[in-house]
Symmetry: none
């Protein structure tokens, strides 16, 4: 596991964890059928409380993305890949839609909005590498 937690950016820690797992499955970094690190181990790595990790795992189990094997650990389900990919798209599209809805509602000039979008998109490309 290779991701980062920011304890003070408004997004609940357990949600940062579950999202990053979801994204990792979507992108193929974690494969269906694979075991993922134990609650305690991941908690140690990320320097957070095990209960917080457990909550993230539980949320993903409720979505049938993870599955616990009794006394053994937690595995990625076989249907997880597709679910994660579409969930990822959905999350991003919905958030984008919210921003655009607010922009429209604020009566921001359309050309200006377009300019902001282009600029930020370029920005994000640069930060990509």
């Amino acid at each position: 596991m290779f991701f980062q937690i920011n304890p003070s950016n408004g997004i609940p820690v357990y949600e940062q964890v579950s999202r990053q797992i979801m994204f990792a499955v979507a992108s193929g970094s974690i494969l269906p059928g694979e075991m993922i690190p134990s609650v305690r181990e991941l908690a140690r790595e990320l320097a957070i409380n095990p209960n917080t990790v457990a909550r993230a795992f539980r949320d993903l189990q409720d979505q049938n993305i993870l599955q616990t094997v009794r006394g053994t650990g937690v595995a990625v389900t076989h249907g997880a890949r597709a679910k994660c990919i579409s969930a990822r798209t959905r999350v991003i599209r919905d958030r984008l839609r919210d921003v655009l809805a607010e922009a429209r509602q604020s009566q921001l000039d359309e050309a200006e909005l377009q300019a902001i979008i282009d600029a930020e998109f370029e920005n994000s490309k640069k930060r990509k590498h």
Copy 2:
């Protein structure tokens, strides 16, 4: 006052109020120097708690967008217009930046991201009128 409050959409109610006032000033729907409805009146209209309206007003006063006129009520300051315009841009740009940052971090394919952006932008145009 003509805006709408959604008490269960994640955004704090007081923030929905202050933002919509801000946007109204930015777009010229409310003019500098104008009085705005009292805390009690606005609370009644929007069917929310007066404390919530008061908090929105306080936040806007802290930004020098509103000011109390002794014995009369609350008015939009003369410097408000410019402040609201730039605040509006900032709010929207920041939210957009967050979405794009998350999209990038999720390893979503760039072409797909671009497609989503275009589609949603078109969508929001349609909903505009």
Copy 3:
């Protein structure tokens, strides 16, 4: 709230709480739109930890049976009634199906099984009042 918790019967306490709320909604004891007792209050009444109650509430929110009103409390959603009724039927039917499947798999004589069912059904009727 009028229900009972048995802390040592195998069923997790938070699940006993959420089920009993569900059943209460299904049977009409709690109506859609109504507020339910606060986490702290219910925890006090049932003599359990508030976090345990909170978890039950959270599970029901995930099923869109409860809905929190920010800073105010928790309410039963409007679609809850139908969901609870069908969930109740489903829970009971599934558990019954499991028992019967096990009975069949155990090669228990069918007449004997029928006898057990009849006897227990009569029993449960008696206990009803």
Copy 4:
């Protein structure tokens, strides 16, 4: 040995093993005095942990259903048949009683409950052959 283990259906694996042995004795598929496969062999067959099989055997030994024959292996005791038959009835009756108790507590309409029972009983008959 011809039975199946489901590692992720809530019932502990060791209990699935011991129950299925018990049921096999009750139905006469395994006869008193017969040897049963060794822990290691059964574990291999069922693709589960030997400790799990050992625990199932231990439970059955505690109930005097299995006994170890020094230097030879594990055998079904002579009193086992009767014990298994009554244990089987007890297990099923208890589970049935639990379901009906919950149904009653949920205030499910009695006629509806009766209908569910009948339907599922017919269902289970069909699946039997």
